[in-house]
């Protein structure tokens, strides 16, 4: 089965980005990070990522809006929402607008890796 390789992590918590990208790289993923939509956008546009892991609250653009923009640019790019914001409304909205999954922090690395793989396989 085909595995995703390029992961884009979008989150305003730098510490989270640092530890998570380190650990994903150890699992042989290529990881790029962005702390805001302004940084994430060119990456999405370039078509580099196979899967995006996206936080719900970003400083410049609301994560939900961010999801909508990603989907408008790359309809088939899987997006896993990963957030500290436990909201049923946000999660349902996210899935309806094309998110592959909506997960809550803190998340075990194994679980995140599975979510990334499943998201990639589902969209294909």
């Amino acid at each position: 089965m085909k595995q995703p390789k390029n992961i884009l992590l979008v989150d305003d918590e730098e510490e989270f980005l640092e530890t998570t990208s380190l650990r994903l790289r150890r699992r042989a993923f290529d990881v790029r990070t962005a702390t805001r939509w302004g940084e994430a956008m060119p990456e999405v546009q370039s078509g580099w990522p196979h899967v995006v892991v996206l936080d719900v609250m970003l400083p410049d653009v609301d994560g939900m809006e961010c999801l909508a923009r990603i989907k408008a640019m790359q309809r088939h790019l899987p997006v896993v929402m990963l957030t500290g914001h436990a909201s049923l409304q946000a999660s349902v909205w996210g899935l309806e607008h094309g998110a592959s999954d909506y997960c809550l922090k803190p998340i075990e690395l194994d679980e995140l890796v599975e979510k990334i793989i499943l998201a990639y396989q589902d969209v294909r």
Binding site: H85, A86, S87, S91, V92, L95, Y102, L104
Partner: protein
């Protein structure tokens, strides 16, 4: 709208005949949706049982757990709904509306905000009594009650209300950020806890106080300056408000600032509000089942009393509620240090009855000295305390001071919790064991007996590494050690007494605590196992069973707490299952009342869709085929939904040979079915099965062989790594579902059983026997009435295979139980045989997988 149908339609327009490639692709799309639905189903069921288990565990949990579990659960149910809609080409569209109605109800419960009373941001002491408790919290309301109803002297001042506190938080827009940090916090990680606590408090201290509130506070500060003079200083104390009325002490968790200049009140106010997020307060709320948002801060702002002597009075001692004495702790000056556990003090007993006899139990300055509290004041204090106790109707814990003018002022009064049952840990009975104590004496701060390894803690750094279930040994019982109350087995302190905050929290949590025991730090060594008998005031070497037998269980602090109630209420819309009969006309989207109903509906309909799909798409290899075993057709049917048949198998037949099946989970079940020879008719003959059950034999409607629709038959729905087996025999219905995958979230075995064909008590008995057997092989089992469901998830494939073998065996052999159910002796014999069979099957499976491993090691390339 279905992608598949679009594809098919486009194809048909192009060509009148559908080629095998297109059908294959359509099938694979459906199969992917089906798999996604199954995975989501499994996740949802797991999250439901996790929540149910947590609710009944008595273990503490917070909103981070509740919000996290229920959000994930809802996400998975919604995924199922969407997968089913795609799978059925939009047929169950209305299910989405049902889902949203239920999800909205759950969301409304989870996001419910406490209702804050009143409209004032500030109330002066004249305006406060017990009726204002929802505006100013219990501490300030009680103080106002003393002043205005009982005419007792209390400090003058004002309260910045709960409403004002909320106004501050809302205006500064930091609540979302605070909640986000708490959602991701693991309170067991003390280092992270301190960091998050500091960050949140900085956030609050740095926030802008809304102008209207700032002005109002300054106005009232000016009024105090006018009455008490510009040089007057104030104390700022938190008066927490929580939604429930149970006894929760909140002792020592929040912040108090003394001697604050009037001009510094607004800044200090923020600091007190920030105190809501001190580490010990966060842990306390988690342990006692409060949502952080349910506890709101009022701040009392009271003119400082220039005290010559001050202290604490218990109208009844917490360690002996039936005592005829009041207990008074007194020290010179202002006595916050008494409750902080840092000061030497006088300990007096005063008789409850007039003339209030006074006994000096212990004096800080030595036996010959005078007590720092005069007899006149001591009697006045006793009388006041008894009046207060009588007024509030419960024993009181009262902070008091005597000012320069000799006036007795009450600083605070609150119920003195005696949560620990009075029988917790009896006085040691020296006849029952021989051991001599290592240490004896001290003061019982919290009754009870516990054993554990000693861990001495002197610094915060050491506290971070405090192990679970160790005995905490400290010099001074600082309130900060309260963060360890959820993990300490017992507490021993060299100093301190029962009035300290730490003692209050220990009593509340049911942690035995022995204070005022000099030499504890030097006499006890880290790692040494001891038994602390706080009631008998002794510490013994080792684990003294004779004493521990008398120990009572810790109180269940979650039961009835706000978070517990909230989870229970939310689960009311989630876990009950109403849709149990797929054949009933009530089995439809509109009848789904809970998320569990929706998962059940989706699962059932998805299976039905997959069964029909082969025929619908005209795919021969995906249509139902009759299983051919040892040269003859059986009554088992097989539907291949993906890659469950061997490549090159002859698929033109309406039959499939067992040799042509490559579905690993199906083969495991099949092997289990045939593992042990059955004394009854051979398992391949379902007519034989049915005959055991008189009812089904007499009623041809119930004979599976007569049923026409496939859903009524016994079928395997398979792919290489998936198998769903439905067995209906008479009134029996069993469903085994297994999925093997390298991804743990796709690896599981589910089993449900509904038994019939016997009277009620036999059916229950049968289900319970089955439940016991499944539990013995590590299934998580729940039984309701005569139906059973059992699950194992996230386990490696060989482990699951072994369980499937046993399940296959049970499917066949449980039926035999019916025949012997009326005969106790036979049933025992029968159970014994079953246990032996299962052990043999598991033994063979283990040997087999061991051999496979060895083979794999010998031929790593192969």
């Amino acid at each position: 709208m279905s992608f598949v149908l679009e594809q098919l339609a486009r194809f048909f327009r192009r060509s009148p005949k559908s080629g095998p490639e297109e059908v294959r692709s359509a099938f694979q799309d459906h199969y992917r949706n089906f798999r996604a639905l199954l995975t989501a189903n499994n996740n949802a069921l797991e999250l439901m049982s996790t929540a149910e288990e947590m609710l009944h565990s008595g273990k503490p949990f917070g909103m981070a757990f509740v919000g996290g579990d229920i959000t994930a659960l809802t996400v998975n149910v919604f995924k199922m709904v969407r997968s089913l809609i795609a799978l059925s080409d939009g047929r169950y569209k209305e299910l989405e509306d049902r889902f949203k109605i239920i999800a909205d109800r759950v969301e409304a419960i989870l996001s419910r905000q406490p209702v804050v009373a009143g409209s004032a941001f500030v109330l002066t002491m004249e305006e406060i009594d017990s009726g204002a408790v929802d505006q100013v919290g219990a501490k300030m309301a009680n103080l106002g009650e003393l002043r205005n109803r009982l005419g007792i002297r209390v400090p003058e001042g004002f309260a910045v209300t709960v409403l004002a506190g909320r106004h501050f938080m809302e205006a500064s827009r930091i609540t979302d950020e605070i909640n986000r940090r708490l959602q991701t916090l693991d309170v067991e990680d003390l280092q992270a806890l301190d960091r998050v606590s500091d960050d949140i408090q900085d956030l609050i201290r740095g926030a802008h106080l809304p102008d209207d509130l700032d002005h109002l506070i300054r106005e009232h500060a000016d009024r105090l300056a006018h009455d008490a003079g510009d040089e007057a200083t104030v104390s700022l104390r938190s008066s927490a408000w929580g939604e429930d009325s149970r006894q929760s002490s909140f002792a020592g968790q929040y912040r108090t600032r003394l001697n604050v200049p009037l001009a510094a009140i607004p800044e200090t106010y923020k600091d007190i509000v920030a105190g809501k997020y001190r580490s010990q307060a966060i842990v306390y709320r988690e342990q006692r089942g409060y949502r952080h948002q349910d506890v709101l801060m009022c701040v009392g702002c009271l003119v400082m009393v220039d005290a010559v002597v001050s202290g604490v009075c218990y109208s009844r001692p917490p360690d002996d509620p039936r005592s005829p004495w009041l207990v008074v702790h007194a020290a010179p000056g202002l006595g916050n240090h008494i409750v902080d556990g840092t000061s030497a003090y006088d300990l007096l007993r005063i008789g409850r009855e007039s003339p209030h006899a006074i006994v000096a139990v212990h004096l800080a300055t030595g036996e010959s000295a005078n007590a720092c509290l005069s007899d006149v004041h001591a009697r006045e204090l006793a009388q006041l305390s008894l009046r207060i106790e009588q007024h509030f109707g419960t024993p009181q814990d009262i902070e008091w001071a005597v000012d320069r003018d000799g006036r007795l002022v009450i600083l605070q009064a609150r119920p003195s919790g005696t949560l620990t049952p009075t029988n917790a840990g009896a006085a040691p009975d020296s006849a029952s064991f021989e051991a001599a104590p290592i240490l004896a004496g001290g003061a019982t701060a919290s009754r009870g007996v516990a054993s554990g390894a000693v861990r001495r803690v002197k610094t915060q750094e050491q506290a971070l590494h405090f192990p679970r279930d160790a005995v905490l040994v400290v010099e001074t019982p600082y309130p900060e050690w309260a963060v360890l109350m959820n993990r300490a087995a017992a507490v021993v302190a060299e100093s301190g007494q029962i009035a300290t905050h730490l003692a209050t929290v220990a009593r509340e949590f049911g942690v035995p605590a022995l204070f005022d025991l000099p030499g504890a730090l030097s006499r006890l060594e880290d790692g040494q196992v001891v038994t602390v008998d706080a009631t008998g005031r002794r510490v013994y070497q080792g684990c003294v069973e004779a004493l521990l037998e008398q120990a009572t269980r810790r109180p269940n602090l979650m039961e009835g707490s706000p978070v517990h109630s909230l989870l229970k209420e939310a689960l009311g819309h989630i876990t009950p299952l109403h849709l149990t009969e797929p054949d009933s006309p009530r089995f439809k989207p509109a009848a789904c009342r809970t998320l569990h109903d929706i998962t059940r509906f989706c699962h059932e309909k998805a299976l039905a869709e997959m069964l029909r799909l082969g025929r619908r798409l005209g795919a021969k290899d995906k249509s139902a085929k009759q299983l051919y075993v040892v040269g003859m057709p059986s009554q088992w049917w097989v539907v291949n939904v993906d890659d469950g048949f061997r490549e090159g198998a002859d698929l033109s037949d309406p039959f499939i040979r067992i040799e042509d099946i490559v579905s690993e989970p199906m083969l495991a079940i099949w092997q289990g079915i045939n593992a042990v020879h059955w004394d009854g008719p051979p398992p391949v003959s379902l007519r034989g099965f049915g005959a055991i059950i008189a009812q089904s034999a007499m009623n041809p409607q119930l004979d599976p062989a007569v049923r026409s629709s496939l859903s009524g038959r016994n079928y395997f729905l398979i792919s290489r790594n998936y198998c769903n087996l439905s067995v209906r025999l008479g009134y029996h219905f069993a469903l085994a579902e297994a999925s093997f995958s390298e991804l743990l979230s796709e690896s599981y075995v589910n089993f449900t059983f509904q038994g019939g064909a016997a009277d009620e008590s036999r059916r229950r008995r049968r289900v319970h026997l089955l439940a016991d057997t499944l539990r013995s092989i590590d299934f998580r089992v729940s039984v309701k009435g005569d139906s059973l469901s059992a699950r194992i998830e996230k386990r490696p494939i060989p482990y699951l295979k072994e369980r499937l073998l046993v399940l296959g065996y049970l499917l066949i052999h449980t039926r035999q139980m019916d025949m012997v159910m009326h005969d106790e002796a036979r049933i025992d014999r029968y159970l014994e045989k079953m246990r032996a069979d299962i052990a043999a099957i598991r033994g063979a499976a283990a040997a087999n997988s061991g051999a496979e491993n060895e083979a794999a090691q010998e031929h790593p390339a192969g």
